[in-house]
Subunit: 195 residues, 2 copies
DNA sequence: TTGCCTAGTGAACGAGCGTTCACTATACTG
DNA sequence: CAGTATAGTGAACGCTCGTTCACTAGGCAA
């Protein structure tokens, strides 16, 4: 991660687009676009950036991602070295948006209220990433309408005579055996909590 | 969210840059760039996209974000309507990357191992977003090196004669009163879990 | 010293950019 | 029916784009 790359990424993150060669000349303190042209050429060769079908720069994965350093408890020594020394070149990088969302058109966020899924470590105030779906598999955490009321629970397929039912992750809540209707609206794909 | 906007956002997400007017003409099935020019003009007026200091299109918040529909348990009726009807125009939108990360240069991701923070609903396999820091405040969840070992715990300031100490969120783990050293490496800012 | 590589300058190129203008066809208004 | 918006076409504009070429200065090897 050299100085050129750093400034380029900073530009991209603040402007939400790639700079032109003229802008890069200013950014990198070159007086000629040709100097920029050759530095960019090396970056492309190194896979730091990519080029469009007609010359324009396109960001690679590096630009929106955050380094994953390792386990918090096991194998930490070398990982935590990274925290101190900025030695992030070899670590994995992820973007939360890409990590959490598979099908954008079907994905929504809901804020959690209540404690019925607390034993699954989904607490009040957490955000859940849900994906619209009509069907779920046993064990999925689903957003469902059961007998006219909406709720988030574990989906249980069969095992009870009356067909699919719902189970809370909290022993204070009884299982829900739908009387009239059970309609799946979405499946929970992830949980996010911020402090 | 009309058809023009949808196609534009799709283009941006797959190409990671804004299209040119010529590309938009193809995308929107116009034969003239002028038709594009006027549609874009209305979009800019409506705040859907923005323009650069020299004409080029720049994405707004809409482009990388996901709609937040509402609470899972309370006030759900209207919110869940959104899930079904795509009526997402009025809902809040967030980008996880922007939501979770304040200072990119100081932020890293760690994978959680062990169950010492389980009562804080941070389980094995979760990812924690941490921000490098030397100091923490009472109650923060920190990544720290205590007497040569790395751990994730609640940071407790004073209250014990020997100075700051660490507390697990699991009654099976005893509090940690550092004998020689307690060094804060990072503060936990968020948790992410994927199913 | 000579020769060669590297890094940078500065001018020039065609192509594609966003934008403007003149014009056409359709639809709504009185 | 004429009159006026509205939406689209197609050609043209100046400007900036990425790229190329010719040239200069410094460093290193033979």
């Amino acid at each position: 991660m050299n100085a050129y790359t750093e400034k380029l990424i900073t530009f991209y993150r603040s402007h939400k687009r790639m700079p032109t060669y003229a802008e890069l000349a200013t950014l990198w303190s070159f007086k000629s676009k040709n100097a920029v042209f050759r530095v960019v050429g090396k970056m492309v060769a190194a896979g730091i950036v990519a080029k469009d079908h007609l010359g324009r720069l396109v960001p690679t994965s590096t630009f929106q991602e955050t380094p994953v350093l390792g386990l918090v408890k096991a194998g930490l020594p070398s990982a935590i070295d990274g925290v101190e020394t900025y030695g992030i070149d070899e670590s994995e990088m992820i973007s939360f948006d890409e990590f959490l969302i598979k099908d954008r058109a079907k994905t929504y966020i809901l804020e959690v209220d209540g404690d019925s899924m607390i034993d699954a470590h989904i607490a009040k105030g957490d955000l859940v990433i849900v994906e619209r779906a009509e069907k779920a598999r046993d064990g999925d955490i689903v957003i469902a309408e059961v007998d006219g009321e909406w709720t988030m629970k574990y989906f249980r397929e069969q095992k009870h005579d009356t067909g699919p039912w719902l189970e809370a992750a909290n022993k204070n809540y009884a299982p829900i055996y739908p009387e009239h209707s059970l309609r799946i609206a979405a499946i929970v794909r992830g949980v996010v909590r911020k402090y």
